[in-house]
C-alpha cells in the first residue's frame, strides 16, 4: 500500500513552495557576499567604498559589525561568519552586501577592492599529512580478538597468514548539488523577534546560531522549514550562515532580507563530501579468512572542524565494513587544508571507509586467487565472529542470506560465465561484474543527538495536525509520519497533515540526518498520538458504558478499537470525528507532545569502544558493466539490488531512497569529479563541468527488491533507516568497472582505478591492465 508523497501534487503542479517562492514583503533586501581568490592570506586592506556606492545598496557588513558571536562552527569553533583579518580558503566571504535586488547585490559584491598577502597554503591531504596539519587530533583504535575475548566469544584458533596486500587509495569528494541552492529569508517581527524561513536540515541549530550572532536569546528567533529542494547532508550545518547573514541585515535594517546563493557561489563557498586518502594492509589465511587489517584514513576536512570529527570516525567504523577481522589497527586523521570546510554528505564518511575495504578485498582475492564473492562471504560477521573493531557486537546476521539470494535471483554466476565468453569474443569491449554487500550503522555517533520531539493536535473536527522536529527534504519523512499517525488513530491519511518544521512548535530538535529521521520522529509522533488516543479511548469507554446503561459494566479502555475512521468497543460504535467532537465538549485534552531518545547507544571516542549503533541496515548489489577499452567509455548494463529496510513503513518512499541513493552513489564513483586548481580554487564550479548522473546514466536494467525481515530492535513498527545505506550499493558498480578493466589484460593484473571512475580513469586502468605505459599512444 504505497501512497504518493504528501506533496506530490504540489510538486508536479508547481504549487509546493520553497523559500524563494514565498510571497515576500515589498521592500525585501537581497544579499550577496564578496570574496578574494587567495586560498590562505592575510587581509592587508579591504576597501568597500565602491560597494557601498553601488546602485541599490542599502547596507554592507564585515566581521566587526557582528553584535554577538562571529563563530558559527556547529560543534567546534573555527567557522567565522565573515573573514576576520585572515583568509582561510579561496572564496571565503569577506563581507556581505544587502541591496534592493538580487542582481544589484551580486553586482555590488563584485566591486570588492582588497589587498591580500598570500601565505603558504596547504591544499592537499598529502601536504597536510606531511605538515601534520589537522583540524582535530587524530584517533587510533586497535582491536585484537584475542585480548577482547569474552566467555561468549572464545579466541579464534590462531590462523596462518597466506596472502597479504598493501596499497594506497585516494577517493575524491562529492558536491551535493541539491537542486534548490542554499537560501534563507529573515523577517523582523514584533518585539525584536525574527522569523527565519530556512532551507535547513537543522532548524534548531539555525535558531541557536542566529541568536548567537545577534547576541539575543533563542526565544526571539523562530525558524521555519516547510521543505527543502534536496539537502543530502549539505544543509545540515551549511544552511546556517545564510540565515545568520540574512538575520543580521534584517536586524540592522528592520526590513525583510533574503539570501539566496547563486549556484556558482554555492559550489565554491559551501562544504562537500570529504576526499579521503587511505593507506592499508590486509591479510588472509589459506582458507581466505581475514587475519588482520591495518589502515590509515585521512579525511580532507578543509579549514575548520565543522562535522569532520564524526565523519572521520564513521569512516573508521565502516572500514572493516561487514567483515570480521580478528586483529585490526585503524588510524584516523582529520587533515586541515586551506580549502572550504567539508561537511556531511549522505553516508558521512562511511562510504569512503567502505570503499577502501571493498577495493582491498578485490586486491586480496586477486592475489590469493580466490573468487571475490567467496572471499566476502567467508568473512561476513557470523555468530562467534561478531565483534567489530570498535567493540560493538553484531546481533543480526542477514547478509549471508542476502548475498546468497541476490546471487541466485539475478543469475549472477550464469551471467558471469556469459560475460567471460563475451570478453573472449571481443577485443574492443570488455564486461565486468561485481557483487558487494552494505552494512551501515544506524544512529548519530554523538549520543545526545539521538533525541527528538513531536507535538500532535487533534482538532475539534477530527482533523489531525502533526508537528515534529524532522525536516522534509524529499525523502518522504512527512509521508511516513502521516502513516504513523493515521495508523494510531485508525483514520484516513487525508485526515492527517504534517506542518512545516518550526522551532516554536517542537524545541531542541536534532538535525534530520544520520538516516535517523523516521526512526526518531516516528517514535516521538507515535508516542504523542498514543497519549491522545489513550484519552480518547477512556472517553469512548465511558461513553459506551453510559449508552449501554447500568445493566452492563463499563468497557475497558484497552478494548476500544480505532479503525477505518470509526471508534468502537463491543457493540458500541461512533465515527472518529463524532467522538472527537464529543470529547472536545467534554473537555478532554486533544493535544500532546511526544519525546524519544534512542536507547542503548554509547561510545568512548578516544578508546574506540562502545555501542555507537542501535542496529545495522543491510543491502547488496550486483553490477554488470561494459567498457570500451580504446576510450574508457562505459555503460552500466544491469544492477540488481536487495535491500533491508526492516518492516517497511512506506514502500514507495523506501524504494525511492534505494534507487535515488544508488544513483547518487553511482555519480560519486563515476562521473562526478570534484577538482581544485593549484591555487586552491574549486574548478568543478558549475553543472557545466561537474556532471551528476542524467537519466541515461541510470543502469539500462535496474531491479530493486526489499529484503523482508523485521528489525530485531523495537524501532517504529520494526522498520529500518533507509536514507544513507543505499548510496553504498554503488560500490559494486565501481568494482565491476575495475573488473572490466582487468579483463582487458585477461585478469593478469587488477589495475588501480581512481574514484571516481571517469572514462579517463577507466582508460588508464585499462592501460595498466594491458601493460602499456601512459605516455605511449
Amino acid at each position: 500500500m504505497s501512497r504518493p508523497h504528501e506533496s506530490a501534487v504540489g510538486h508536479v503542479t508547481g504549487t509546493a513552495n520553497y523559500v524563494d517562492d514565498l510571497p515576500q514583503p515589498a521592500d525585501t533586501l537581497h544579499v550577496a557576499t564578496g570574496y578574494a581568490d587567495a586560498a590562505r592570506a592575510t587581509i592587508a586592506a579591504l576597501r568597500l567604498d565602491a560597494v557601498r556606492a553601488a546602485p541599490g545598496v542599502v547596507d554592507v557588513v564585515v566581521a566587526a559589525d557582528i553584535p554577538g558571536k562571529l563563530d558559527v562552527g556547529p560543534v567546534y569553533p573555527g567557522d567565522p561568519l565573515l573573514a576576520d583579518g585572515e583568509l582561510r580558503y579561496a572564496a571565503q566571504p569577506l563581507f556581505a552586501v544587502a541591496a534592493t535586488s538580487f542582481a544589484a547585490a551580486q553586482r555590488a559584491a563584485r566591486m570588492i577592492d582588497v589587498d591580500v598577502e598570500p601565505q603558504p597554503a596547504i591544499l592537499s591531504v598529502a601536504d597536510a599529512l606531511a605538515a601534520d596539519a589537522a583540524v582535530l587530533p587524530s584517533r587510533h583504535w586497535h582491536f585484537d580478538a584475542e585480548s577482547a575475548a569474552t566467555p561468549s566469544t572464545p579466541p579464534a584458533p590462531p590462523t596462518q597468514e597466506a596472502t597479504r596486500i598493501a596499497g594506497k587509495r585516494y577517493i575524491r569528494g562529492q558536491e551535493h548539488f541539491y537542486l534548490e541552492g542554499q537560501v534563507a529569508l529573515a523577517i523582523p517581527e514584533d518585539g525584536g523577534e525574527l522569523r527565519i524561513y530556512s532551507s535547513t536540515q537543522y532548524p534548531d541549530e539555525v535558531q541557536h546560531l542566529v541568536a548567537g550572532v545577534l547576541g539575543i536569546p533563542m526565544h526571539r528567533v523562530r525558524v521555519v522549514c516547510r521543505r527543502m529542494g534536496g539537502a543530502f547532508g549539505g544543509k545540515e550545518s551549511q544552511a546556517a550562515s545564510l540565515a545568520c547573514i540574512a538575520a543580521l541585515f534584517a536586524w540592522r535594517t528592520g526590513r525583510a532580507v533574503k539570501y539566496r546563493m547563486p549556484r556558482r557561489d554555492d559550489m565554491i563557498q559551501t562544504g562537500k563530501r570529504h576526499d579521503f586518502h587511505a593507506d592499508y594492509e590486509l591479510a588472509c589465511d589459506a582458507q581466505g579468512r581475514l587475519v588482520d587489517a591495518k589502515v590509515t584514513l585521512a579525511g580532507k576536512c578543509g579549514h575548520s572542524p565543522d562535522l569532520s570529527e564524526g565523519i572521520v570516525d564513521r569512516a573508521m567504523f565502516h572500514f572493516a565494513h561487514a567483515y570480521y577481522v580478528p586483529k585490526i589497527d585503524i588510524t584516523g586523521h582529520r587533515s586541515r587544508t586551506d580549502t572550504v570546510s567539508n561537511t556531511a554528505f549522505r553516508g558521512f564518511g562511511g562510504p569512503q571507509g567502505m570503499l577502501v575495504m571493498e577495493a582491498a578485498l578485490d586486491e586480496l582475492a586477486h592475489a590469493a586467487a580466490i573468487d571475490p564473492l567467496k572471499l566476502r562471504r567467508t568473512n561476513l560477521f557470523a555468530p562467534g565472529r561478531d565483534v567489530t573493531a570498535y567493540g560493538q557486537r553484531v546481533e543480526q546476521f542477514v547478509l549471508a542470506d542476502m548475498l546468497r539470494r541476490l546471487e541466485r535471483d539475478c543469475d549472477y554466476r550464469q551471467r558471469q560465465a556469459t560475460a567471460r565468453e563475451f570478453n573472449a569474443r571481443h577485443k574492443r569491449f570488455k564486461k565486468g561484474m561485481a557483487l558487494t554487500p552494505v552494512q551501515f550503522g544506524i544512529s548519530f555517533t554523538v549520543a545526545h543527538l539521538n533525541q527528538t520531539g513531536a507535538l500532535v493536535h487533534v482538532y475539534a473536527d477530527g482533523s489531525i495536525e502533526v508537528n515534529h522536529a524532522g525536516t522534509e527534504m524529499g525523502q518522504g519523512l512527512h509521508t511516513k509520519m502521516i502513516e504513523v499517525a493515521a495508523r494510531v488513530f485508525g483514520v484516513a491519511r487525508e485526515r492527517v497533515r504534517v506542518t512545516a518544521t518550526q522551532t516554536d512548535k517542537v524545541p531542541n530538535g536534532s538535525p534530520t540526518a544520520a538516516s535517523a529521521g523516521s526512526d526518531l520522529n516516528g517514535m516521538a509522533v507515535q508516542r504523542a498520538c498514543l497519549m491522545i488516543r489513550a484519552r480518547l479511548a477512556a472517553f469512548a469507554a465511558s461513553q459506551a458504558g453510559e449508552s449501554l446503561g447500568a445493566a452492563e459494566s463499563t468497557p475497558a479502555r484497552e478494548d476500544v478499537r480505532f479503525r477505518d475512521g470509526d471508534v468502537s468497543v463491543g457493540a458500541w460504535r461512533q465515527s472518529f470525528d463524532a467522538l472527537v467532537d464529543a470529547a472536545y465538549h467534554a473537555r478532554v485534552q486533544l493535544s500532546a507532545t511526544g519525546f524519544y531518545a534512542t536507547p542503548e547507544v554509547h561510545f568512548d571516542k578516544e578508546a574506540g569502544r562502545g555501542k555507537p549503533f542501535y542496529y545495522y541496515a543491510h543491502g547488496a548489489a550486483a553490477s554488470e558493466v561494459v567498457i570500451d577499452v580504446t576510450t574508457g567509455e562505459y555503460r552500466i548494463l544491469r544492477v540488481d539490488i536487495l535491500h533491508d529496510v526492516g518492516a517497511s513503513l512506506q514502500e514507495a518512499m523506501d524504494r525511492g531512497q534505494i534507487e535515488g541513493g544508488y544513483v547518487q552513489g553511482l555519480g560519486w564513483l563515476t562521473t562526478e569529479e570534484l577538482l581544485w586548481d593549484d591555487a586552491g580554487r574549486v574548478i568543478s564550479n558549475s553543472p557545466a563541468n561537474y556532471k551528476i548522473p542524467t537519466a541515461h546514466d541510470r543502469p539500462r536494467e535496474l531491479n530493486i527488491d526489499l529484503y523482508r525481515a523485521d528489525n530485531p530492535q523495537p524501532t517504529i513498527r520494526r522498520s529500518k533507516a533507509v536514507g544513507e545505506p543505499p548510496l553504498m550499493l554503488a560500490i559494486s558498480t565501481w568494482c565491476a568497472l575495475r573488473d572490466a578493466a582487468s579483463a582487458a589484460g585477461e585478469h593478469a593484473v587488477l589495475p588501480r582505478l581512481a574514484a571516481p571512475a571517469t572514462p579517463e580513469a577507466v582508460f588508464w586502468a585499462v592501460r595498466e591492465a594491458t601493460g602499456a605505459s601512459q605516455d605511449a599512444s
Binding site: 508547481g14 537542486l179 534548490e180 521543505r227 527543502m228 551528476i692 542524467t694 535496474l702 582508460f763
Partner: protein, 492 residues
C-alpha cells in the same frame, strides 16, 4: 485574470507581418507583449538583463518554475514555448532572454495543469512517485509534456537529458513518461498538444522591443546593428554573461529570426547552412544522412538547448571545445562573414580562428552562413564524441573525419578535432599521412597527429588523455570492420 483566450486568437496575423518586414526599423504597429499560459501580458520593453525566468517568477509571480543553476544545465526552469513555427518546445527559461519570446506563448507548469485538472504527465508523476524533493519536478513536467508532443515513448531518456534530478535516480520519471504517452494516446486521440489546456490554436509571430531588436531580414539587421549592441542568437552561451556575470548591455540585437540566416538548403552544388539554423533543425537534417552525426547531436546539449542554440553561435563564440567546428572542418566548409553594410567575405573555416577565443571576425561583422561545396558523401563522415558524462556534457575530445577510400586505400581525408588545442583544428599533416595508404597503415598519421596536438589539462581531462583519445578516435574512424565501433552500436 488578464485577457483570456478560449479560442487561441493571437493578436498578430503572422503572414501579413512576415511580408511587411522590409522597413529599416522594427515595426511597432501592435501592442507588445507575450502570452503567458492563457493570458496576454502587455509589455512596453524587454529589459536587456531580464530573462524569461526572472519575468515569470518576479513579475508574474509564477513561482512554479525554479532556478537551479541559471546556466541552462539543470532544466529546473524548463517551460514550453509555442513559437512562430507552431511548434511547442521546452526551453530553459533561465537563459532565454525575455525579449526572445515576445509575441510567443509561454506555457509554465501552472498552465500545463493544476491540482484540480492535472496534465497526464503530472498525474503519472504523482502515481509513479516521480518526485521526491520536488524542486526539479516542474522542469521535468515541462520537458515531458514537450516530449509527448515531439518525441517517442522509447526515447524518453533523450527527452529529459537536459533535466537533472538528484533524488529519484530517474526510474520513476522514465516510467511516468511512458505511462503519460499511453494516457495521452487514449484520452486525446494521439494529439498530445490537446493535453495542454491553454495552448492557443493560431501561431503567434515575432515581435521586438526597444531594447531587444529582432530584425527579420538582413536589411533590418544592418539597421539594428547601428548602436553596436551585442549580437545574440539562441543565447544558450551568450546569455550566461547576464545570468552568471550579471552583465547589463544597453540592448541586444537578436539574429535568430533573420530570414536569410535561417537557410538550410542546396544552392547549385553547395550546401548552405545559415548561421541562425538551430541545432534541432540540423538534427532533423542529419537524421536522414548520417547516423554518427545524429548520435553526436543526440548528446549535444539537451533538447532545451538544441531548440535554441544555433550553428552560428556555436562557431561564433570561438570555443575550442564546441562540437560543430570539427564537423564543419571535416566537411571542408567555408564561412561567410558580413559587415553591417552587407559587404561579405568568404574564407575556409580553418582560417577563421586565430588563437584561444580569438577569430578573424571584426567587431561589426556577423556570420552569415557556412557553405559546403560539391556533393557530400555522408557515409565518409565519421563523428565521435568523448565526454565525462554521456549526455549534455561538453566534449573532452570530439573527432570529425571525412574519409573516402578506394578499396583499402584512403584517397581523400579531412581530419578535424575539438578539445586538443586552443582552437578547433583541422590537421593537413595527418591527412597527408593517410592519403594513398591502406587504412590500417596509420603509423605515420599517428605520429603526425601527436606532433600536431597541443592539448591542455583542465577540469574535463588530462592532456595525456586528450592525446590518447585523438589517436583512438582516428583509429576508430579508420576501422571499417563490420563489428560495432562504439558502445552505442554494440548495445543497439
Amino acid at each position: 485574470m488578464r485577457q483570456r483566450t478560449a479560442t487561441g486568437d493571437f493578436p498578430i496575423d503572422s503572414d501579413a507581418d512576415q511580408n511587411s518586414a522590409t522597413s529599416a526599423s522594427v515595426t511597432d504597429d501592435h501592442e507588445r507583449g507575450l502570452w503567458i499560459n492563457a493570458d496576454w501580458v502587455a509589455l512596453d520593453d524587454a529589459p536587456p538583463d531580464v530573462s524569461l525566468l526572472q519575468h515569470l517568477r518576479e513579475q508574474e509571480r509564477l513561482t512554479g518554475t525554479k532556478e537551479g543553476c541559471a546556466s541552462g544545465d539543470c532544466g529546473a526552469c524548463s517551460v514550453l514555448v509555442h513559437a512562430a513555427d507552431g511548434g511547442v518546445h521546452a526551453v530553459n527559461a533561465c537563459i532565454t532572454p525575455l525579449g526572445a519570446v515576445l509575441g510567443a506563448q509561454v506555457v509554465t507548469v501552472e498552465g500545463i495543469g493544476t491540482p484540480e485538472a492535472m496534465h497526464p504527465v503530472q498525474r503519472a508523476m504523482v502515481e509513479l512517485h516521480g518526485s521526491q524533493c520536488g524542486f526539479c519536478t516542474p522542469g521535468f513536467v515541462a520537458a515531458l509534456a514537450a516530449h509527448t508532443i515531439n518525441g517517442t515513448a522509447e526515447g524518453i531518456a533523450d527527452g529529459i537529458a537536459g533535466n537533472l534530478c538528484r533524488c529519484t535516480g530517474y526510474g520513476p520519471i522514465l516510467a511516468a513518461g511512458r505511462i503519460a504517452f499511453d494516457v495521452i494516446a487514449r484520452e486525446h486521440a494521439a494529439v498530445a498538444r490537446d493535453a495542454l489546456p491553454v495552448l492557443g490554436a493560431a501561431a503567434p509571430t515575432h515581435l521586438a522591443a526597444p531594447r531587444y531588436r529582432r530584425p527579420r531580414d538582413r536589411a533590418e539587421l544592418h539597421a539594428a546593428m547601428r548602436d553596436g549592441w551585442p549580437l545574440i542568437a539562441g543565447g544558450t552561451d551568450r546569455w550566461l554573461g547576464v545570468s552568471q556575470q550579471f552583465e547589463r548591455p544597453p540592448g541586444w540585437v537578436d539574429v535568430s529570426v533573420v530570414r536569410e540566416l535561417m537557410r538550410l538548403e542546396y544552392e547549385r552544388d553547395e550546401l548552405i547552412i545559415g548561421s541562425a539554423v538551430t541545432v534541432a533543425t540540423l538534427e532533423a537534417f542529419a537524421r536522414e544522412r548520417s547516423s554518427l552525426l545524429t548520435e553526436m547531436l543526440r548528446r549535444y546539449g539537451s533538447p532545451q538547448i538544441r531548440g535554441r542554440a544555433t550553428i552560428g553561435g556555436n562557431v561564433g563564440n570561438a570555443s575550442p571545445i564546441a562540437d560543430w567546428p570539427p564537423v564543419l572542418l571535416a566537411l571542408g566548409a567555408d564561412i561567410v562573414l558580413s559587415d553591417a553594410r552587407g559587404s561579405e567575405r568568404r574564407l575556409p573555416l580553418a582560417e577563421y580562428w586565430r588563437g584561444y577565443r580569438e577569430t578573424v571576425r571584426a567587431a561589426d561583422e556577423y556570420i552569415v552562413e557556412f557553405r559546403v561545396s560539391g556533393p557530400i558523401d555522408w557515409a565518409a563522415l565519421k563523428v565521435f564524441k568523448v565526454s565525462k558524462r554521456e549526455d549534455d556534457d561538453i566534449s573532452t575530445v570530439l573527432g570529425a573525419f571525412y574519409l573516402q577510400r578506394d578499396g583499402a586505400i584512403v584517397n581523400k581525408a579531412r581530419v578535424a578535432f575539438g578539445g586538443v588545442a586552443a582552437t578547433p583544428v583541422r590537421l593537413p599533416a595527418v591527412e597527408a599521412a593517410l592519403v594513398g595508404r591502406a587504412a590500417d597503415d596509420a603509423g605515420d598519421a599517428l605520429v603526425a597527429l601527436d606532433t600536431a596536438l597541443a592539448p591542455i589539462t583542465d577540469v574535463r581531462a588530462s592532456a595525456d588523455y586528450r592525446r590518447a583519445m585523438a589517436a583512438a578516435l582516428l583509429l576508430r574512424a579508420l576501422d571499417d570492420a563490420p563489428e560495432p565501433q562504439t558502445l552505442q552500436e554494440l548495445l543497439d
